[in-house]
Amino acid sequence: MSKVTTTERSLVVLEDVVKTYRMGEVEVTALNHTDLVLDRGEFVVILGPSGSGKTTLLNLIGGIDSPSEGHVVVDGEDISRYGQRELTLFRRRKVGFVFQFFNLIPTLTARENVDFALELTRRHDGHAKRDSSELLSKVGLGERFDHFPYQLSGGEQQRVAVARALAKDPALILGDEPTGNLDFRTGKLVLSALHEVHVTAGTTIVVVTHNQPLAQIADRVLHIREGRIASIEVNEHPLEPEQIEW
């Protein structure tokens, strides 16, 4: 019987999820019987020390890993037992990723990096929902559409990554330390871009970070320790990215 209470607003549901890894002779439990519900339109920050299981949690939600036990349901789809092909289609349709190292395709311009994601959507849906120029403008990269990644600063690259994540009009954007490789100023620009998307499009955003101050912009903050959600903090008055300092 399900211990998790869901509503119509529930976008992500984790039910009694266990994730174990075998590292040689040793079995490591990264997530231990975890239950979680994330609602549509939430901005969630996951905080925790290294090895606490926060990235594992993000990977399971994003469908780049599968649980050893339990269920992961995203936007009504139980992806727990999906095969590689189904997970690929799931990621293509439902999830946008923002990585710590930006992970742009080095041979494509800023516009083409976004177009690449649009092409994936088009291949699936038959048409693109968005326009790359519009998306890049939205993240504040107005005049550098045709620059290659090596010609962009780290902050600009990460904003392209945000635009690429938006291209699919995903239900969910997942960021794994999206400011981890940026200085304070450019980190804030990226957070602003994510926040803007959250506010204007109502996209659900989940960000994993070590960086405590980032929690101030979240609607909810999950604290993870030793593979379990130790506490959940609700921010009644989240701050704007411009307002935080670290």
Binding site: T88, P106, T107, L108, D115
Partner: protein, 791 residues
């Protein structure tokens, strides 16, 4: 240091597929080097042993006929260690098929073993002093036909048949390469060497008390030319036909050619393979060590010295080089034994000498280890020179370098497919130029050996076509001991099934131009004769030249004599004491032998007669009656050789089976190399882009599309690599053939369009197969891990 050793071991285990391929690459290089060099050394040693143990003559003098008593005179000459006089006559064998083998009857002593040109009895026994009708059969013919001790052999002597009983199967240093005369190609079951008691030989041919050949061994330290002169002085009254030194003796000459060619192969081919394997190794290992930049930085940050770090990577390379060398030496030694054994059998060398050659192994190991060490050290040295912090710095931009729209896309942008499935691979090709160059070179190197082998097949096919279709245009030919007049030709023309019969005269002659000379056959023919097709490369048409009384020389002969069109040479035949001057009218591209052609009219000067004479007939016949015509030609008096062209061709093709087998092995070897080289290159290409590929998968690109992208990229690289490989392969074949060519034959490096197509298709198949492991790696990527990899 123990930890670095452990790290080396773990690194090897972690990338065992790639390291295994590198070890395999070294192994293939060493294997080829050791096997070819060792088999070459073995073959040379085997031939030298046979020459020594079977007392191969230092020279022979052929005479029309000399009394046996003169042998004692020759034996007394200073510098002569041993001498043997023999009666040697060519006749035919009756085998009851469409073949007409030539039998060379050689008289040998029965009261003692031959003092010169001894025989090795492989089966049965030597001739007995009191036996009659006994014969020793040369092993080559016995092997070709399955003849064995106790069988009866029937000689054709005009209309007469003589039956001889085989009492032994023998090998001979004089006929290790069993051919009738210098420049002949070996055939299967077409030429039998029979050793009979000297007295039986004299009786068979009605030449009692005479010999036609004197074989001499000289004292060690004696001057060969002086001894030859003394022997010629003694035999001069008996009309010397030819004097043949060991180097020009047909079998020795051919064997030396084989060994010379084998030496080229033993040096060139392994050098090429080793070069390919070491350069591929260099590329792969350099890339591998470069990818460990961060680990070098970490090791240095922990306090390891530059030297220790270098030693660690040196060990890395030494393990690959050492393991590859050990495997290569072991397998190379085994392979060399097989190759030498096959060669020795094919060439009829009765002894097999196999040894381990430390120098060969030493060179191979030093070369490979040097390549491994240099390949590993160069990037490790670069990394060790970096400050630890810089080496370890997680700079996401490192992997971004080189993003640009290539010129081809800027020019053809609209015409090219829009999809990123095509554009990304296209840009990747131009993104990392060194990587692209390495890959193109890898594909080209991989192809060189296979192209060279394929080209060899084609070149031989073209040669056979040139000789048997375009050059020799007759169906049946017959050669006779004594010249004859036009009546015999007229008779033959009247036979049933004969469409055309043309006469020719083949004269042994010594051709001399300035300081160079050549001993061989001059063919005299009617200028309008059609039995031989010329391919004139310099000068007017052959017909015009022959009508003018000039000589047509083959390219090889002209080169040997150092003479061109318009030059003059002198010819000396056994039939006339004066030398005859001949003007070179044209040069013809003849694939085989070193022929010279004059008109029949002109041959009268060489023969010293006023009438035109013939000793050969070339006939074009009804194919259904070819065997009958062959029999009838052989029944004419004095017949020594009758050839049916189709039979010769099939014999030649049978003889080629070994060559095809041998080249087939090389071919397989080439493709194995191709696979390993392409595999290591592609794997490095994928490994270096792990994060990029993982990112595409993570954001929703399918495995199939990613595999397609990798394939498109590789195909684009192959577009450059394949033509380069074909070009290099042909150049290599040309270089090999240039060193092979001799007066006996000249091969031209050829590759047929169908072969090019086949090579392209086969390369693409190998390329696709080589892609499978790296693509499987993409499918198995841990996306969570790989998207964070620092490249």
């Amino acid at each position: 240091m123990r930890i670095l050793l452990l790290k080396t071991w773990r690194d090897l285990l972690a990338r065992k597929g790639q390291f295994g391929a590198l070890i395999l690459l070294v192994m293939l290089g060493i294997l080829s080097f050791v096997s070819f060099r060792t088999s070459y050394n073995d073959l040379t040693a085997s031939v030298e042993r046979a020459n020594s143990e079977l007392k191969l003559a230092d020279f022979t003098v052929g005479v029309v006929s000399a009394p046996k008593g003169e042998i004692a005179s020759v034996a007394r000459l200073p510098g002569v260690r041993a001498v043997e006089g023999r009666l040697i006559v060519d006749t035919g064998l009756d085998v009851g098929t469409n073949k007409q083998p030539v039998a060379r009857i050689i008289g040998v002593p029965v009261d003692h073993r031959p003092r010169v040109n001894d025989l090795l009895v492989e089966k049965g026994r030597y001739l007995s002093a009191d036996g009659r009708g006994e014969v020793l059969l040369h092993a080559k013919y016995a092997n070709d036909t399955g003849a064995k001790v106790g069988d009866t052999i029937t000689l054709r002597m005009g209309e007469e048949r003589r039956r001889l009983k085989v009492v032994g199967i023998v090998a001979s240093a004089e006929y290790m390469y069993a051919i009738r005369s210098k420049g002949d190609l070996p055939t299967k079951g077409e030429f039998a060497v029979l050793f009979v008691p000297q007295r039986d030989a004299e009786e068979l041919f009605g030449r009692q008390g005479t010999i036609s050949d004197v074989a001499v061994l000289i004292d060690s330290g004696a001057n060969l030319d002086r001894v030859v002169d003394r022997v010629e002085d003694v035999l001069e009254p008996y009309r010397i036909v030819d004097t043949v030194k060991r180097a020009d003796q047909p079998s020795s000459f051919a064997l030396n050619e084989e060994i010379r060619q084998n030496r080229v192969m033993a040096v060139a081919l392994p050098a090429l393979i080793l070069a390919i394997s070491t350069s591929s190794l260099f590329i792969a290992l350099s890339r591998l060590v470069s990818s460990q930049r961060g680990q070098v930085g970490l090791a240095k940050a922990l306090g390891y010295s530059d030297g220790q770090v270098l030693l660690h990577y040196l060990l890395f390379s030494l393990i690959i080089g050492g393991a590859g060398s050990l495997l290569g030496i072991g397998l190379g030694d085994l392979a060399s034994r097989g190759i030498a054994q096959q060669y020795v059998q094919l060439l009829g060398v009765p002894y097999m000498a196999h040894r381990f050659y430390p120098d060969v192994v030493g060179i191979a190991v030093i070369l490979s280890l040097a390549a491994c060490v240099v390949a590993g050290l160069a990037p490790a040295w670069r990394s060790s020179r970096m400050a630890p912090a810089e080496a370890m710095r997680a700079d996401p931009n490192v992997a971004l370098a080189g993003g640009r729209r290539p010129l081809v896309e800027r020019l053809l942008g609209r015409a090219l497919p829009k999809s990123f499935t095509f554009r990304i691979p296209l840009r990747n090709v131009f993104r990392a130029r060194r990587r692209t160059a390495y890959t193109i070179l890898g594909i080209a190197f991989a192809l060189v050996l296979t192209v060279a082998t394929r080209s060899s097949f084609d070149s031989i096919d073209v040669l056979i076509d040139q000789v048997f279709t375009k050059g020799e245009r007759w169906d049946v030919m017959a050669a006779y001991e004594q010249p004859f007049g036009g009546e015999r030709l007229a008779t033959v023309r009247r036979w049933r099934g004969v469409h055309l019969a043309q006469g020719a005269l083949m004269l042994p002659a010594e051709l001399r131009a300035d300081s160079a000379k050549h001993e061989g056959l001059v063919t005299a023919m009617d200028p309008r004769a059609t039995f031989h097709g010329f391919k004139i490369v310099e000068g007017p048409e052959a017909r015009e030249v022959l009508e003018h009384g000039d000589v047509v020389l083959s390219v090889g002969l002209a080169r040997k004599l150092g003479i061109g069109v318009g030059g003059t040479l002198s010819a000396k035949t056994p039939y006339r004491d004066e030398r005859v001057k001949l003007r070179v009218g044209s040069i013809s591209d003849e694939a085989l032998g070193a022929p010279a052609y004059v008109s029949l009219k002109r041959s009268r000067d060489l023969l010293g007669t006023s009438a035109v004479r013939y000793n050969a007939i070339y006939a074009n016949v009804d194919p259904r009656l070819a065997d009958d015509v062959k029999d009838e030609l052989f029944d004419l008096p004095g017949a020594i050789q009758v050839n049916v062209k189709t039979g010769m061709l099939s014999s030649l093709l049978q003889m080629m089976e070994f060559a095809y087998f041998y080249e087939g092995l090389l071919y397989g070897f080439g493709w194995a190399m191709a696979f390993v080289v392409i595999y290591t290159t592609f794997t490095s290409n994928v490994l270096e882009r792990t994060r990029e590929i993982a990112t595409m998968r993570t954001i929703g690109e399918s495995n199939a599309r990613l595999a397609l992208m990798v394939t498109i990229e590789n195909l684009l690289l192959a577009l450059a690599g394949i033509p380069l490989g074909i070009w290099l392969g042909i150049r290599m074949t040309e270089a090999l053939y240039a060193s092979f060519s001799s007066e006996a034959y000249s091969l031209k490096a050829t590759i047929l369009p169908l072969s090019v197509l086949w090579l392209v298709v086969a390369t693409l198949v190998v390329l696709l197969l080589s892609e499978v492991p790296p693509i499987r790696r993409i499918f198995r990527l841990d996306l969570a891990e790989a998207t964070k990899v620092m490249e």
